[in-house]
Symmetry: C2
Subunit: 263 residues, 2 copies
């Protein structure tokens, strides 16, 4: 008997479940096999990272063999459908190796114009932020609730997040600080979790630079489904990576963009 | 029939349970009543903060009426036993109002020489780090495990945390950066959760300044029970607040202290 065809959302959740199971045995363990991908930099790859991407790819091999895959660990797999699953098995590896609970599994389903479905999953907390065409929800310790950005419109009322104070290049750092100095509060260190908080109506702006496509596609889908806006620092699509500006409202987006586009 | 007398540990856990129940209904809700304690600064006090301290004080009123209390919200209550419960119902209020899961309930039991029992509780994750005379454990999503600091001895192998990049005064910020630039990795934004990660053997150093006694007493008890060291930047006791240096090993503590004592 043929299995009923799973929806894209069901597949994304099955992938997140598989990644969770692959990663958690390695979280907060000592003596992880880490190696430096970038000579001179600090970009650890854990066993968990690779195992999680393999687990997600296995779900796709079973259910969507015709779709393409672009994963952080194992690169591009060409498909025939025109659709691509964009995967970052552990976004925030520095946070992961530090034991913080704010790294995440990022899963996006994209067509040429950008992501149409996204998942930001935090396996340790057991929290999953999901956004797609017609739905935006979080499931976690307090049950399942709708996601929605909040109504902050003025920069001086905004809570802004970025992961590293230096942000990216020197110029990008200056651009970030030019926004930050007008904001009500600036916080650091949350990796992809900051985008989830924006979609959940808890914070107002996320400004990042130096991103890869797989860092930002799932956040774009989740935030847009929750009513927010994500572009690059020129107001153009951000799904190819680089610089990202995520905002709760159009007014706040415009105010931050006015500053950032000078950098 | 008289109730069996609860141990200090049982009381601390009952207090943490009570604080959790008081706080969680307010976490990630919109329109929290916040007010500025410090004119010009940003130190929100939420309804949850006050409700949690009241809930913890109620536990003490029932079980330890003879002990003193020093709480962030309601100040000093003199006791007759010479013991004082030192409480910060929500450490990391800025993180709390941003929806991050890295604020915590801090509970310490102290005698004149310093804290002898500490709890760092993260209610949203459902995670509790506990340290006292003869025990150091965490209970959370992955069950109950022993706490223990790890064996990092060299500064250039250390992961260092602080909450705000500016740390405290300008001189204190310089001191922090002098340590940070020798470390392997620096991360921000975790509030009291950074101390918990140190006790859990995930990170190696926490450097903070401008602390109150209730910010640091529970972390001291948890970290010391886990085998780590906490002092001020001169190597003296830190339980009165001010500047704190927490380290996984004596060697690492000495290396960081050598730098910080110049500031």
């Amino acid at each position: 008997m043929q299995q009923a065809r799973l929806s894209d959302l069901e597949i994304a959740e099955e992938m997140a479940d598989a990644a969770r199971a692959a990663i958690l045995p390695f979280f907060r363990q000592t003596n992880l096999e880490t190696d430096n991908k970038l000579a001179g930099g600090f970009d650890p790859v854990t066993v968990a990272d690779r195992a999680a991407e393999e687990a997600m790819r296995a779900v796709l091999a079973e259910h969507r063999p015709q779709d393409g895959i672009f994963g952080e660990e194992f690169g591009q797999t060409t498909g025939t459908s025109g659709r691509v699953w964009v995967l970052d098995p552990i976004d925030g590896t520095r946070g992961f190796i530090s034991g913080t609970p704010t790294w995440g599994v990022l899963i996006a389903l994209s067509c040429e114009a950008g992501p149409i479905l996204g998942v930001i999953d935090q396996p340790y907390i057991g929290e999953r932020f999901v956004g797609g065409t017609g739905y935006a929800f979080v499931k976690g310790p307090m049950g399942r609730t709708q996601l929605g950005t909040r109504d902050t419109r003025a920069l001086d009322q905004a809570i802004v997040f970025t992961t590293f104070p230096e942000v990216g290049t020197e110029a990008e750092g200056e651009g970030f600080r030019a926004v930050s100095q007008h904001a009500k509060l600036t916080r650091y260190g949350m990796d992809c979790y900051a985008y989830a908080l924006l979609a959940a109506g808890q914070i107002d702006l996320v400004v990042e630079a130096g991103l890869n496509a797989y860092d930002i596609q799932a956040p774009i889908a989740v935030i847009e489904a929750a009513g927010g806006i994500v572009t690059d620092w020129q107001g153009k699509p951000a799904h190819e990576g680089g610089r990202a500006l995520a905002a709760a409202t159009p007014e706040l987006h415009a105010a931050a963009l006015e500053i950032l586009k000078q950098y």
